[in-house]
Symmetry: D2
């Protein structure tokens, strides 16, 4: 098990695939080893960046197995079990435990929008039946509801709920969490958006679950280190680089899926893994791929 | 196969359950036979009212099997295959074909919000691989996107896409569909909300997928008949009854799930089936149950 | 005073302007006389279509004065007093009374989103101080809140609140209103969107506040008459024409303001009035104007 | 004129009123002098906290005049001119210039939701006609649109647009602004929400427009100083106090207006000014007032 709170960069791993039902296992190996070499503190598979909801349960289970095999206990493996069906979440969790993962992550059920009281009961019911500790996952843009700060505080009483990843980009929300949970120093608070991870670390947050760390793990680890050690000179330079990546690669194409497409295309251009996207999405065509290539060159990559 | 367009009342069947992993098969039998006796033109299982997203795939498959067995080809069975994972939709569809269902229904993938061009590609890819014809399902409150009228028009070119159920409650949307699809008289246009089904029929729509028809199938069938035959005297009386049901039973309790809870509790009080709700929801407690009972008595039910 | 409920077509009059601070009085005269000749039952100035919020109070007051002068009591004049400031609403209302208008119309204050209890107090406070009877105006897309059906029912107790215009396009909402207000036959229920006005009339609504009636008043009056007399043959033909107008003219250009721009450009091409738009909007440039012209010709207009 | 960028705490001044049409001038004097004594760098009147949209233009103009008289050039006065009507914004601006204010602040027109291209034209048209420099005001919860980072960058080319206040609470948005405007060191970037002001200052933002500074100006000035000087020990203590204020006072009652009601009630209990709220809102009743009092005592205030 890992020390609590979990600190540092924990990339939300994209899922390399060859087609809708086939994992790109070699790509996954490249990707994970590259991250571990880059100094990340853990990996989070089957999150939003991992297209978890879009891939079959068989592929999800294979991904859990292969990730645990490749990582080989070098760092903690966190597994997303977000599902609208309670039973399917339990099945995914059982697989995670079976193959040796370290923790689970669950956003609220995302078809019906639950109320806060319903969320409290749901998460307690879930955590009480899980074989591994659970991180909450706040993702209102996809899930339609916030896990309100007071709800998080209530759920932090459950010994099997050990932290939260916030992808809301709402700075007030995160500061309220830091304040409300000040007496639970082991409860991990992680920030999704890489553009605001530095400031969250400066204010007392524990780490970043940053999509860009799929591409450039060293950069985000260095950003975390600079923020954690309050080295503002380095931080200014690294934050600029992080913003350049974000503004260069995540808004090519016009859909909500453009961020993942950008990351997958860049990884493919860097020779790491396949850029296949699970339905209902489709990888970039040549025109957008050329833009990604141009942006990578502008970022100083030698491809 | 059924005559196209499909006309009349096709209830979105609630899913009677004993616990999270066990179907209430006797309750299902009561429910379906009661609907068929009430004159419905078909049944739609595994929709929003059926809590499809919240129940396990095993229960979903059992529900398909049992429904087809009970209905025994007396009326068409429509099966919801809405899923964020393309592969899981195909698996559900294969089960529907295996057990003798007549058609499939799919709302857009509901985690990432797709763009309209993405929807066109998704639905064509899906329909081309399905063993049964497909109804589109517009459900923006849960899915975050509308299937825009022009998108529906484009998809109506696919011979395996045969209709649409609209649950947006948006009257302008439905009228645009009626107009844009005026040259495709076999393309079925169904209205979800029972409060506006009558007017949609008057204007040229084909039927209603009304949750209240779980409870009072005769009422909604009579409403459809009155609207289809333009019997305005009867229609006024029936529309009032439909609104009384809606305003009495669907807003007890304070969550988005209160409509299904109300229907399930009422069915249980009427002796039809269990009122268990799949996680993350929970059936009404005694206080709300007493309100439902009182409302049913006010509606003239003898319970 | 007019007979209650107010029935028929009451166009939401666009505001002809020469520049940001100057009314196009001759254009207004053309526009209003054309409407009255077309058989409308009233006019509604200073609504959303009238760009009320975007024009100065001086122009708003001049528009009230000129409209009342031109209409000369031939039909009722309804004046929008929607404002975030209570005092400014009262001032506009005083002007309306001074120049002989017949009724007032107010959407909820639209900066802060008020709760339903706040709305009840607000509307009662307002109606109690108004010199003329008030129509509520439900416009959630611009105002961020619905005036819930139960709120309307509560407000209908105020003798100075005599009706409601609904621009939500929500068919369930309108049917709930018809049902809840069934014992107040004098309370007027008007439908904003022209695409669903026919069905609302068929179900017991009283009229339409249809933007297209700025352009083709006879068409919408004929639609109302066909629906009110349940002449379904005529209705089918007229409804098709109404949808053709809507799909041809309201979505040119890509902004929320395209509907008003389309109507104003068409009116200018028809020789009725100026197409100037108040800041922050701007009239169509040549390219879009050419599209409007083409669409008008396709609609059979001789321009 | 002030040095650019404007740094420090600039409270969004609440508007003390005696009734809907009467300013509480003595209360305003107390409030402003208390702030200046507390070390604020400027004041911003007629913003969201100032209920600008809800008060009449006469009161708004009187407020401008009285504020400028009381402040007497000791600190810069920023005046909100946010309006749906361009002409009314210009009139407010003319008053601000007449009485000696230093700058203007404008959120987008908030009835129709404008597109980004429309925003660029609108703000350039406005700034080009204003007698004083302009701050943009990003307030999507009330205005329905974001002023996108690229739009801000484009507008920063206008020499009369000198900064932006962001009330979105979106941390990614603010970091994008800091990065995109890195070559415009005089362009002021201010943070609305007090809970995230410290981190924004740490990352290179210039100041906070914090509602709580109406109540406790010294606290927010000290927070700014600690962040600006990177004194993390002090900052941790002050940030806790800021969060305590926020969680104690801003969520009493259940409406969107509860934040302003909380601040006004607290100021009244502290003996500073009246707690009257302009329509459509109403000051707290006794029950909520008692809660505010209790919370102030818990915060250590001697009342």
């Amino acid at each position: 098990m890992f020390t609590k709170p979990l600190r540092g960069i924990i990339p939300p791993v994209i899922t390399p695939m060859i087609d809708n039902d086939t994992l790109d296992v070699i790509g996954l190996e490249n990707l994970l080893n590259r991250m571990i070499k880059g100094g990340v503190s853990g990996v989070f598979i089957l999150g939003t960046s991992g297209e978890a909801q879009n891939i079959s349960y068989n592929v999800r289970k294979e991904l859990i197995k292969e990730t645990c095999r490749i990582v080989e206990k070098r760092i903690p493996v966190l597994v997303g079990i977000t599902d609208t069906s309670f039973s399917e979440s339990l099945l995914l969790a059982a697989n995670a435990a079976l193959y040796g993962a370290d923790a689970l992550v669950a956003a609220p059920p995302y078809y019906f929008a639950p109320g806060q009281a319903e969320l409290i009961q749901y998460y307690n019911d879930l955590a009480n039946q899980l074989p591994l500790p659970l991180f909450l996952y706040n993702m209102p843009s996809h899930v339609k509801v916030m896990i309100e700060p007071e709800t998080v505080l209530a759920l932090s009483e459950n010994p099997n709920i050990i932290g939260l990843k916030d992808s809301s980009a709402n700075g007030v929300y995160f500061q309220k969490l830091i304040y409300l949970l000040r007496n639970k120093p082991e409860f991990t608070l992680l920030c999704g958006p890489e553009e605001m991870t530095a400031e969250v670390i400066l204010m007392g947050g524990h780490g970043g679950v940053n999509g860009g760390a799929n591409l450039f793990p060293e950069l985000y680890v260095a950003l975390y280190d600079a923020a954690a050690s309050k080295d503002f000179e380095k931080l200014a330079e690294l934050q600029s680089q992080v913003l350049r990546v974000s503004l260069s690669l995540y808004n090519i194409g016009k859909y909500a899926s453009s961020y993942i497409k950008g990351v997958k295309t860049a990884l493919n251009l860097l020779g790491v893994c396949s850029d296949y996207m699970a339905e209902p999405f489709h990888k970039f065509k040549d025109a957008e791929r050329a833009v990604v290539k141009k942006k990578l060159i502008e970022l100083g990559l030698d491809i």
